[in-house]
Symmetry: C2
């Protein structure tokens, strides 16, 4: 998906919501366990109920890998069920030496090779340029690079300060030598509040993928106040607060209601930037 | 596997060799394509030919994920074929927020959940303590944390210098608050030569997993000169130079010969430390 197509979708849907399909077989409603693949059934119903409210789905691969082969099959089936006009994110946080990152790129981008062809994949920056560049060889595919993550321990290394600023600032600056706002986004946690203002100085035009709303305590208001730009420039993710809104047979409706609450808040925010 | 068992294996086999099963369906001998799962057949024959010469096998997950479901099945079959007295490494370079890293830990350590139960998994440190700790909850399982990687672009971020030293030095020091030499190792690239001496000041007793011998240009001699400790403390990996030593029907023999060359060099090195 191109940047232009993504922005168009945001304008049309009045939303910049990403729904995280962090679907855990131990947390989904019990009546689904009667299905052959309970997690796939769960995802299907969540997608059907919410696809008009969001511009992106994010599949966190850990939740599928932990079930081994059955989980990987569910991941492929879920990917195939995603509406193709919605921005898909493989939240895989991969990254390895060049020839190996090429393999990871094939895993998430090359349908012929792996059965998967996500629009984007999250990548960890620790190993530097040659670990990221192989993901950038696919046209209309994106790298979503970890910059400032939403977790408490982000402070352990991401705030280490060198002459050229904090580590996450170095990641933001250095990575712009490898890619631009047409094929790279950054992960910035919603829990970081005012840090968004500093990040916008370093990456004014990039889209930011923002986890941490809801269960992790981040505020949509703060994120928009400091992080929105003229093209919106935000994809805000919510996982648990939406997909586990109810544990009963009404889970899909409950998920739609939660997604709609966020979409309505988002509509107000993008109204403000004249969309 | 415990540290004691690992050291015993090194003493018995006169080797600290790890063989990386970076098995690429496009690079394996063509006659294997007649098998139902060519990569599994390749791995099986490599394992049969080399298991007396190495103390560890490392499976880089990228090479399996890139083939989607078939690749993941091959990964599980290969894991099941590994001799259980040999130290197994899932070279997956995972790492995510706490509840997600728990899922990754299940994926690689919990056989009941995923079908896999490696002795260790490689983890990327960027997200800090809470992304690493979930992997440390399993007894006799190890985290192999990225510290100083073998690739050229390691310099992009790993050598950023703060008041508390280079980023990789911070990783070495900080992570010792989370784990000790009984359940954590570090990745240090063989291409880093004298950096091993500095690393040994910060982590004198830990095992180091050392990739970068062979195809990537690192020297076993340098690694041992600066990196070996009284318990050996090294697991040196070779992938391509061993598994692709021949492209013909003799590939397994050729792999054994290459592995044996390294094992003989290693026997000399561990003789020197009085093993």
């Amino acid at each position: 998906m191109t940047r232009k197509e993504l922005i168009k979708q945001i304008k049309t849907k009045r939303s910049f919501l990403c729904i995280g399909l962090d679907s855990d077989i131990n947390k989904i409603p019990k009546h689904l366990l009667a299905f052959e693949d309970p997690v796939f059934e769960f995802n299907k119903q969540i997608i059907d109920a919410t696809k008009h409210l969001c511009v992106s789905y994010k599949i966190n691969t850990a939740f599928y890998e932990c079930r081994g082969l059955a989980g990987w099959r569910c991941l492929v089936n879920t990917f195939n069920y995603l509406p193709k006009d919605i921005f898909s994110i493989a939240d895989a946080k991969r990254g390895d030496i060049g020839n190996t990152s090429s393999m990871y790129a094939d895993a998430f981008f090359d349908k012929e090779s792996s059965g998967l062809s996500f629009d984007s994949v999250t990548v960890a920056p620790y190993m530097g340029a040659d670990s990221v560049k192989p993901f950038l060889k696919y046209s209309d595919k994106w790298v979503v690079l970890l910059a400032l993550t939403s977790n408490e321990s982000a402070k352990d290394f991401q705030f280490l300060e060198s002459k050229s600023g904090f580590l996450f600032e170095n990641v933001l600056v250095k990575s712009q030598e490898w890619a631009n706002e047409e094929n790279m986004m950054y992960v910035v946690g919603a829990t970081k509040g005012k840090a968004f203002a500093d990040i916008r100085k370093l990456a004014p035009n990039h889209f930011l993928l923002v986890p941490g709303i809801g269960a992790q305590g981040g505020s949509l208001r703060d994120v928009c106040q400091y992080g929105i730009n003229k093209d919106c420039g935000l994809i805000v993710n919510s996982s648990r607060a939406i997909i586990y809104a109810s544990n009963g047979e009404d889970f899909a409706n409950a998920a739609r209601n939660e997604a709609e609450k966020l979409q309505l808040e988002m509509a107000i925010e993008i109204e403000k930037i004249g969309f």
